[in-house]
């Protein structure tokens, strides 16, 4: 109850505070620089120059404190020792280069980076293409899109149940082992079998991201002008040729957007690994490794921050690409 009051109080205070700021500051500006009297023209000009910053003020303040400052602060922490008191230069990065867990994480991240965006996009493209051609397409889309609403932790439970293992001869209650046993195989302890277990974790993210890819690619496919498709059919192209030679080339731009968006998600992947294997049995990834250094046992903020900066560096090319695209669109 107390909690409920706190939450609703915060909502009211937050909403009221925001409105008060925007409304009050605008009125204050109008009073300070009235658009009347002998200096009306000059006043209006000055008020017009200040007003955007009143609208932007809170947003800029929060962005600066909650996103820009942490990036700079992390970069600095990465150059300091465990508790951030002594400057150690590039020692943390040197340590990273030599650390076998870091190599494992980087390798796994690369594996994820190759597998997840590729398969999600391909499955999404297939799903978009086939659901656009059937009567119950919107229902099918909803169902494939649904995992998007499920948390990574919830998805972790769902899939861990699928990978569940019981000793040989016992009744398997995990779907995967039940299928294996049904076809005469021996049940496997899937999640602790190195190398392949990483792919089983990737399956979870692919399952979630396919719906996202499908929704965007489906919109792009429907945006293709009918004439180009009709012309190809008149020329005798079969459905596969229409798809691969006419449709796909026209939506390359969208495919690239989907691919990079999923790539960013993959670089930051944390929850799935954290709850399903906690990075053991050769499944460690950068975000989880960073979490271990920052919050497990004796924290080492220097090393943790260095790993965070590595993740940031991996994201940066996509960031630059996005900014360039956005600027091109604005012109």
């Amino acid at each position: 109850m107390e909690q409920f009051l706190l939450a609703s109080g915060t909502i009211v205070a937050g909403v009221f505070g925001c409105v008060a700021w925007f409304w009050g500051s605008n009125i204050a500006l109008d009073l300070a620089l009235p658009a009347r009297g002998p200096r009306a023209g000059a006043n209006m000009q000055r008020a017009g120059a200040i007003r955007p910053w009143l609208f932007l003020g809170p947003a800029i303040l929060i962005l600066a404190v909650y996103l820009v400052y942490p990036v700079i602060n992390s970069a600095w922490r990465a150059l300091n020792d465990a508790d951030g008191t002594t400057f150690v230069g590039l020692k943390n990065y040197q340590w990273l280069l030599a650390d076998s867990k870091f190599h494992e994480s980087l390798g796994n991240n690369m594996l994820w980076l190759v597998t997840v965006p590729a398969l999600s996009t391909v499955f999404g493209l297939i799903a978009a293409q086939i659901t656009d051609r059937i009567r119950w397409g919107s229902f099918a889309k909803s169902m494939i899109f649904m995992p998007m609403a499920i948390s990574f932790v919830g998805a972790g439970v769902i899939w861990k149940f699928i990978y569940d293992f019981r000793g040989e001869g016992l009744e398997q209650i995990g779907l995967l082992n039940a299928i294996v046993v049904y076809f005469g195989g021996t049940p496997q302890t899937w999640l602790v079998t190195p190398f392949w277990n990483s792919f089983l974790l990737m399956a979870v993210l692919i399952w979630i991201q396919t719906g996202f890819a499908m929704v965007i690619l489906s919109a792009a496919l429907r945006g293709i002008p009918e004439e180009s498709i009709e012309a190809a059919i008149l020329d005798g192209a079969n459905p596969w040729q229409v798809f691969s030679r006419i449709k796909v080339p026209q939506i390359w731009g969208t495919i690239a957007v989907v691919w990079t968006t999923i790539t960013i998600t993959v670089l930051k992947v944390f929850d799935i690994v954290f709850v399903m294997t906690n990075g053991e049995w050769g499944t460690q990834v950068l975000a989880n490794l960073m979490y271990n250094w920052m919050f497990r046992g004796a924290p080492d903020y220097g090393r943790g921050s260095a790993i965070a900066i590595v993740i940031m560096a991996l994201v940066t090319p996509i960031m630059i690409w996005n900014i360039r695209n956005a600027r091109r669109e604005m012109r």
């Binding site: 915060t10 800029i60 602060n73 948390s151 439970v157 944390f270 996005n322």
Partner: protein
């Protein structure tokens, strides 16, 4: 429409089949969890969820009574009792682990030393001996039982109370609602300025927002936690609301700006000519017209905050009373690894609200995705 006349119907079939297969593959995992959460815990451990609607066959043993339980009936000594639990049906029984299905219900087995054992259809057993029983440990009776399917809400009541999921549900709501509403307000004003006001540095700010969309929030954890501690905010709701506001703001500004820029210029210009101030234009024209974009972002942010584990783990305390649902779920995965009835019910409670929001507001979610598909997780 496309395709040759002859291959057309078979192609339609193939497409329908492929779609059905994909839908099945994508829904089965969640469906399995739902079924499991409604099953009796013994049955979950005994058979896969896909066998839930069928009667399950279980093999087990029970121990007969011991010497204190015996009664004298004339010449012989008798221990009696029942091997079945409620709802079970006896299919076969035995006295030897190598042959646990040796006898049918109603048979009488002759044992060593002149003893006999009979187990009736209703599970009542009768162990007799010509001499007084002396054992302190009852003999094993192997039984094979048929259990009809049993569905129950017990798992749900159990996790909501005993496992603390009810409290966590409230905590999650407490985190989510303000963390969804506050960024919308702040972003709406900023988006209007970026879309419809002329000022130096506007293009640079827009580029900065696009750049900040992809900043990994891992980077922000330690600096912000330290900052919160330094200014006396510590770990708590205020801190996590601010953090989620900060992390959601770039997407909010980006989505809303893209939408507002597409609103018809004439309306805004004519309002300006009529002497409306920017604040009035924003409140009377822009805000109502931007409802679809506001709804899109609200859903995104709601799903994102509700489903988040990392930010909650770092910015909220980690005692049982403070955990959000993803946190409880994570903890249960560690401590109750094999108790699927608890995990399934807990997971289902935690994904129920997002699923409802998802199905109710799918239209806006799709629209938002199409407008701002540069943000990842």
């Amino acid at each position: 429409m496309d395709g040759h006349a002859g291959t057309r119907s078979s192609l339609v079939w193939a497409v329908n089949l492929a779609a059905a297969l994909m839908v099945l593959l994508w829904t089965i995992p969640t469906f399995g969890l739902l079924v499991t959460s409604l099953r009796d815990s013994d049955q979950i451990a005994a058979s896969g969820w896909w066998k839930a609607p069928f009667t399950s066959v279980q093999s087990d043993f029970v121990r007969a009574g011991t010497a204190p339980d015996q009664v004298a009936e004339g010449e012989i000594w008798v221990i009696a009792g029942n091997v079945l639990e409620q709802g079970e049906k006896l299919r076969a029984w035995g006295t030897d682990s190598r042959d646990p299905m040796a006898f049918a219900p109603g048979d009488v087995a002759t044992l060593a030393d002149g003893r006999t054992l009979s187990v009736a259809v209703d599970g009542a057993y009768r162990l007799t001996s010509p001499v007084e029983f002396t054992e302190t440990r009852g003999m094993r009776i192997f039984i094979t039982t048929l259990t009809p399917p049993r569905f129950t809400f017990e798992n749900f009541t159990r996790v909501i109370g005993a496992e603390g999921l009810g409290q966590a549900f409230l905590n999650t709501f407490t985190v989510t609602i303000p963390a969804t509403i506050i960024p919308i307000l702040i972003a709406a004003f900023a988006a209007y300025a970026l879309a419809w006001m002329e000022f130096p540095g506007r293009a640079l700010l827009i580029a900065a927002v696009v750049g900040l969309l992809v900043v990994p929030l891992q980077l922000a954890l330690i600096p912000l936690l330290k900052l919160h501690n330094d200014i006396g905010l510590g770990k708590g709701y205020m801190g996590i609301w601010l953090a989620h506001t900060g992390f959601g703001l770039p997407l909010a500004i980006y989505l809303l700006r893209n939408y507002m820029v597409g609103l018809p210029r004439e309306i805004i210009e004519s309002a300006r000519v009529d002497g409306a101030s920017d604040f009035q234009i924003f409140r009377r024209i822009i805000l109502p017209l931007s409802f679809p974009a506001l709804a899109s972002f609200a859903i995104f942010q709601f799903l994102w905050v509700w489903n988040d584990l990392l930010v909650a783990t770092v910015f909220l305390g980690n005692t049982r009373e403070q955990l959000v649902m993803t946190g409880v779920l994570r903890e249960l995965m560690g401590s109750r690894g094999g108790d699927w009835e608890i995990l399934a019910a807990s997971a289902f409670i935690s994904i129920a609200v997002p699923l409802v929001v998802f199905f109710a507001m799918q239209k806006y979610l799709v629209r938002g995705l199409l407008a701002g598909s540069v943000k990842g997780g």
